[in-house]
């Protein structure tokens, strides 16, 4: 689709483009390679009524939930892995009926974004049939009256049963596409013109990027385009699929970035334990979001020693300096 090359802008400007009510998806997986600086700034700019459609959630989701920024969350999982066994803020808001949670499975969510990425209205799959995920009584957006076709981003059905007899009779399901307004991603490398390279696991980034109407990328490094183009088979996304670039080292902290830095487990554990109540969340946000001026302020508060401990060993792609266990 005819586009200009992506613009390199500031984080404040990037977040400024998100409207209340927009549908968002993200790069990464649970507590890995999440666009955390963007999440903090969304809270700082007090964005609300967001509609998240993501393959899975993590610390970023829980922060947005705690801040009351999410209205609808369509996904399959939220937690902090080893550092908090569930997403306390998501749970609290869901239990209070302040957050609409539409449950799918991992495969369903990947299918939703893959279908969006492929320009299809749905993907077929056999995954997670015979579960309450498909219970018609548990169609949360349907029961909330949001499946009447008046919401451009909400499908009229949560899913559909389907049959095929190409190779004998079989029954499967169709999972509706998702086409988020925005994909907000954090990656290792973006070329000056916008080519994106992701190292290590790609999670469901390709589907997230390609499903979205517009893409904002935070990059550990903006590098010469020609360097990435020397090995084009290693790149994931061409410039015309990227709208805005923000160069932001450590922008995924406290989540981890393959080859760059480790998950900051202590940070997440502290977040989890302090934010089980709304008061706790508010105090935490006061300290770590509103209490710092910007991303640099946040990094200064973390301190150089903490960051250097998290920095990945260039051979192993993860840190060898972090104390992880108890022996």
């Amino acid at each position: 689709m005819q586009k200009k090359n992506p613009k390199i802008i500031s984080l404040t400007e990037a977040v400024g483009m998100i409207q209340d009510g927009d549908m968002l998806t993200f790069s990464g997986f649970t507590i890995w390679r999440r666009p955390m600086a963007f999440i903090y700034e969304l809270v700082r700019q007090r964005r609300k009524d967001l509609h998240l459609v993501e393959v899975n959630g993590g610390t970023h989701t829980d922060i947005l939930a705690g801040a009351g920024a999410i209205k609808i969350w369509e996904s399959c999982w939220a937690g902090h892995e080893l550092y908090g066994k569930l997403a306390g803020n998501v749970s609290r808001k869901a239990q209070a009926g302040e957050l609409l949670v539409e449950d799918y499975s991992h495969v369903h969510m990947v299918c939703r974004l893959a279908a969006g990425a492929m320009g299809l209205p749905y993907m077929p799959t056999y995954a997670s049939m015979g579960t309450d995920i498909l219970n018609p009584e548990y169609d949360v957006l349907g029961k909330a009256g949001l499946r009447d076709g008046s919401h451009a981003k909400i499908p009229r059905q949560k899913y559909r049963m389907a049959q095929s007899d190409f190779y004998g009779p079989t029954e499967l399901i169709h999972i509706p596409a998702a086409r988020p307004d925005w994909c907000i991603a954090h990656v290792q490398y973006v070329g000056e013109e916008g080519t994106i390279r992701v190292m290590g696991q790609k999670y469901s980034d390709e589907e997230a990027f390609k499903a979205a109407d517009k893409v904002i990328v935070l990059a550990e490094s903006v590098v010469p385009e020609a360097m990435l183009r020397q090995e084009p088979e290693r790149n994931l996304i061409p410039p015309y699929m990227v709208d805005y670039i923000v160069e932001l080292p450590w922008g995924a902290h406290p989540t981890g970035v393959y080859g760059n830095y480790e998950v900051d487990g202590n940070f997440i554990r502290d977040f989890y334990s302090r934010t089980r109540t709304q008061e706790g969340f508010d105090a935490w946000a006061e300290e770590w979001i509103f209490g710092v001026k910007d991303h640099v302020g946040y990094l200064e508060k973390l301190g150089i020693d903490r960051l250097e401990t998290l920095r990945a060993n260039p051979g192993l792609k993860y840190s060898t300096k972090v104390v992880r266990g108890k022996r």
Binding site: F29, C76, D103, S105, S128, G130, N135, Q201, Y203
Partner: protein, 269 residues
Amino acid sequence: MMEKQYCQPNEYKTIDLLAVAAAREVNNGDVVFAGTGLPMLAIMLAQNTIAPKAVCIYEAGTIDGRPIHLPTSVGDARCAYQASVSSGLFDVFNQLQRGEVDLAFLGGAEIDKYGNVNTTAIGGYMPQPKIRLTGSGGNPDINALARRTVFIMVQEKRRFKERVDYITSPGWRIPKWPFGEMVHKKEVYGDMFRGGPTAVITNMAVFRFDEEGVMYLDTVHPGFTVDDVKNNVDFDLNVSRCRGTTEPPTRQELEILYQQIDPEGIFLS
């Protein structure tokens, strides 16, 4: 081969036994989906003992990694160390759907006698649950489409229920939508039916499933009795097929777990 030296009950922790019992479910050459924590210990132990050719897939997208430092999540950079392929979820889940996965280790908050598992919500669902859990993740996808699944769980009466509050992950008898009548998994999956839960390993016992897909007691861990187990199950548990005591860990297995796999004490603290 060295003779097996079994440990006494006071020489190992519960988590050691869980890891060892789970590892013994792996056949050599199996393609195994594993999640964070105990499943990682189990697959790595199996690879270091009875199943050197087993291949591990982590759902975040690494295939046959050979970590030299234990990963703390399936998205961890350590999972990719010397991996054959590092791709993403769409790839590995498509492989699962295509039938590449033999075995998976899964967990859950609640399980019922048909092996249906809940990781979503406790105490109702609509309009809102009493307790919102993490949600499904890939649990139901993997449980649906792998040949065999093994659940590792905590043994408590409130977790082993006649009927789970929410069927996150499909066991042997599951609702057939749109009407929700409970039928055998075969009737829902048809030609794509490949199997289902084959074992549940808890801190007290190992359970398996009979021809009808009903859970029964297989072995009881050293130090526990059949009654202990029955008292921690909220449905009428079939104990008539109990084979006796669960094989305890060997010294060799513990050495591998503590010296090779988790020397940092991440899960084995």
